[in-house]
Amino acid sequence: MATTLTINGETKSFDAPPEMPLLWVLRDILGMTGTKFGCGIAQCGACTVHVDGKAVRSCVLPVSAVANRAVTTIEHVGSTPSGAKVQKAWLDAEVIQCGYCQSGQIMSAAALLAATPNPDDADIDAAMAGNICRCGTYVRIREAIKLAASGRQS
């Protein structure tokens, strides 16, 4: 079934079953592998993308649900002000270890900062608790979000 989506500002048309999760459309049909598969049941957040600016888990999101809505992925989030700040803070604070979950972490953090420019610890917990990091980079994630929010970045 032909589907048309707006992903990262570009129109993409492809054949996919309407119930196919956006995650697999991105990865296996469109070849955009920055968005990661982690659990398939919205428990880990590795697959987080933005739909109309909000963080959602693409592994359980049927592609038919995002027709006519703006999808942003990790490949493009750097072109948004909050995404660029978060990416830079992630490097400044040297957050990343294996990096596999970090696409999702950055997408969640960018959505948080877009909605809540100066988050406190409770805001960070609420926005980020859906993203698992097996390497245990949580301390630095918190630090990097605060750094990005502070405007102290060089």
Binding site: C39, I96, Q102, C135, R142
Partner: protein, 724 residues
């Protein structure tokens, strides 16, 4: 496959203005997708200075360092590069890294004799070989320059990718010298630098691998994409050791996008155009399994089996003094500590992409054991080893799971059935239910106290001998040196000291290395027992330990410092406690204090963790901190939640809802202090994992008086009104 590319602007800017005062511009080249027509695994040295297996410098000065160890988050690509570049006096801004191809002759880990990344030993094992490799190459470049100038090599100096002759003011870049250096005779035994002259080692250099990890460009094995590639989802037999019986694929083949159903001995795979089709196809299959002899096995039986085995005498690993006589005197203590099966659950689920052709087999994956993957794949493909190409990738976590080649072997068998490349992806459920598990351990300690000190210490470890399977020559005289690693290497001064090991393989359940390895069980048992003994002696846990660390100044120093930094001894509210852990693992000296609150129903709130680390020369102090922070969380996760249980021969957990991970909202403030040291580097990637569980358990002991002896922590024992 690694090729040139331009760094995205965010990375370039971030690195130019990052926290390191040096302001190095890093040009890092991550593996790009291998185009089908691109030659792979060519290590072209034509026109380059290639003095050894690790260093390539071309005429432009571009410096490529080959990575014998794999990057799975521990920062080793940056640390190894810093060690090589330090002695090479390379221009750090021109350093690029490549994954080394499988080749034990060139890249075997000096400790294991295999191309393996594990046991927190990348820096330890390669420290001197890579310094020599760098220094040798540097000497050849200096010789080449001296030859061109007609001066003595000793009158020349090298720095930042240039050789200079101060007397005449002449300079030549390494690129300009590359061709001439290639024909120089390598010096036989070159001197390495005095550590006081280090300019890269010891600096918190920005990691080379992270810029492409913020924008989706970094490629893990699961990201391999090849022309005409299909995706496979698989079902392993749910019962350990069971086989496929009958398969009815009529409904599966009707699922849109399903291409083929492959039935192997113990695995069924559905190949589709994409993962969704493959998964839907798998759900539509009707599979009858021959469950085999393990269909009745449960965790309860496995524990009974282990307790029975642990009651027997073991092989003696170390014995000093007279243990029997010493145990018969003083105040006697006995305890047994038990640790559960654990899954690895790296964030990147298990996967391997394979293209089998009539005369070759090509693999795209991320593995900790390159050459074993290659040789096992060759067997599965029925091809000579040299016809198997392994394209290494970044690993989305390894933690020991990727020390096994099973996922690649299964993928080869599936790919043999088709003529196109297949990416085999395990769902998280398959990943958790068909792991190679951290074994169950039962650790028994008998001790006696005389005058408030431990006068006798008998420690018996019972558990699986992973090394007997994984590296058979290392299993000697009935002793698994991993299982007792930090048992024989106790930090304390015990006059009468005895360690035994009982090999006890759990029926049916495959066991393997899990981040922190043997020391996980040893450090837990030793540090729990030390806390219980301290209480028995009526002493403060830190003072009690210090009284037996007088011959261990490095450990004593970190323990003193952690006491100060953690606020040890300062008053705390009710049901809040501090617990300490001292560990000698991986040749690092670490003391940790966890502060935790236990609420009225027994739930645990982590308040604060402080670790002081003496790991000798810290090649990259920021990486050391990061590894301890992450390792602590990995270990605390296991203490709080980690347990794989078996019923009817099947793993009962399946995904992150029932195999839980710590999350950011549960993470306490963590402070890691890295001590300055001139000693040889220790291991760090796994050490933090060892520290978390005993320190937390001892904090709970302090807060509640309950002496937990099993993990994960049983909240029921900690509710108000309960007393152990």
């Amino acid at each position: 496959m690694i090729t040139d590319k331009t760094l995205p602007s965010v990375s370039r800017r971030a690195l130019l203005t990052g926290g390191v005062a040096t302001g190095f511009l890093l040009a890092f080249h991550l593996p790009l997708r291998a185009a089908a027509n691109e030659p792979v695994q060519k290590d072209a040295t034509d026109g380059k200075f290639a003095p050894n297996a690790f260093i390539r410098i071309d005429e432009t000065g571009r410096t490529i360092l080959m990575m014998p160890q794999v990057e799975m988050g521990q920062g080793t690509y940056t640390s190894i590069s810093a060690v090589l570049a330090e002695e090479l006096d390379a221009d750090w801004s021109k350093v690029e890294v490549q994954h080394a191809p499988p080749n034990d002759k060139l890249y075997a880990n000096p400790t294991f004799g295999l191309q393996v990344t594990g046991n927190s030993n990348s820096v330890r094992a390669w420290w001197m070989p890579l310094r020599k490799a760098g220094a040798t190459a540097r000497a050849m470049l200096v010789q080449a320059a001296a030859g061109q100038w007609g001066v003595e090599a000793t009158s020349c100096t090298a720095s930042k990718g240039e050789v200079a002759h101060a007397a005449s003011g002449r300079k030549l870049g390494y690129g300009e010298l590359a061709l001439a250096a290639q024909s120089q005779t390598p010096p036989k035994d070159v001197a390495v630098k005095d550590p006081k002259d280090f300019v890269l080692i010891g600096q918190p250099l920005k990691r080379l691998d992270t810029p492409d990890k913020v924008n989706g460009k970094a490629l893990y094995g699961i990201d391999a994409i090849l022309p005409d590639m299909k995706i496979a989802a698989i079902a392993n037999c749910p019962v350990f050791g069971g086989k496929v019986g009958k398969v009815d694929d009529s409904a599966a083949m009707k699922v849109a996008g399903v291409r083929k159903v492959v039935v192997l001995d113990d695995v069924v795979a559905v190949i589709g155009d994409h993962m969704w089709a493959a998964k839907k196809g798998l759900e539509a299959l009707k599979i009858e399994w021959n469950e085999g002899p393990n269909a009745g096995i449960s965790t309860k039986d496995i524990w009974q089996n282990l307790r029975d085995a642990g009651a027997k005498d073991g092989a003696v690993a170390k014995s000093t003094g007279g243990i029997a006589k010493a145990l018969a005197t003083g105040d006697k203590f006995e305890a047994a500590y038990e640790l559960p099966f654990l899954a690895h659950a790296s964030m990147e689920p298990i996967n391997a992409t394979v293209h089998v052709k009539p005369d070759s087999c090509e693999i795209w994956t991320g593995t900790q054991i390159m050459t074993r993957v290659q040789s096992e794949a060759a067997k599965a493909a029925g091809l000579p080893v040299d016809k198997v190409i392994v394209n290494q990738h970044l690993l989305g976590g390894g933690f020991g799971r990727k020390l096994e080649p099973d996922m690649v072997v299964a993928a080869v068998k599936i790919a043999k059935q088709v003529d196109y490349p297949v990416k085999v992806i395990w769902t998280r459920e398959e990943d958790i239910q068909h792991d190679v598990y951290r074994p169950v351990y039962r650790d028994q300690i008998s001790a006696s106290l005389v005058d408030g000190k431990v006068a006798a210490w008998k420690y018996k470890v019972a558990g699986s001998a992973i090394l007997a399977r994984w590296l058979p020559p290392a299993f000697q005289k009935g002793i698994d040196i991993d299982a007792i690693d930090a048992a024989v290497d106790a930090p304390y001064d015990f006059a009468n000291f005895h360690v035994e090991y009982v090999r006890a393989e759990p029926p049916a359940v495959p066991t393997g290395f899990w981040r922190g390895v043997g020391p996980n069980n040893n450090v837990f048992a030793v540090e729990c027992a030390m806390d219980e003994l301290a209480r028995k002696a009526g002493k403060d846990p830190i003072e009690f330990r210090k009284s037996m660390l007088t011959k261990n100044p490095r450990m004593l120093a970190v323990l003193d410092q952690v006491a100060e930094k953690s606020g040890w001894g300062q008053p705390l509210p009710a049901r809040v406690g501090r617990g300490v852990c001292v560990q000698p693992s991986f040749a690092s000296f670490i003391a940790t204090v966890v502060e935790a609150e236990i609420d009225h129903i027994g739930e645990i709130v982590l308040r604060r963790v402080t670790s002081v680390v003496d790991t000798g020369i810290a090649v990259n102090p920021d990486t050391v901190k990061a590894q301890i922070e992450g390792g602590l969380i990995f270990g605390l996760t296991a203490a709080l939640y980690g347990e794989i249980t078996i019923e009817k021969g099947r793993v009962q957990q399946s995904n992150f809802h029932d195999y839980r991970m710590m999350r950011i909202n549960e993470t306490p403030k963590i402070e890691v202090i890295v001590v300055k040291s001139g000693e040889a580097p220790g291991g760090i990637g796994e050490a933090g994992v060892n520290a978390g569980p005993p320190a937390l358990r001892n904090a709970i002991y302090a807060a509640t008086g309950v002496a937990l002896r099993r993990l994960p922590i049983d909240r029921k024992l900690l509710a108000v009104g309960k007393k152990a």
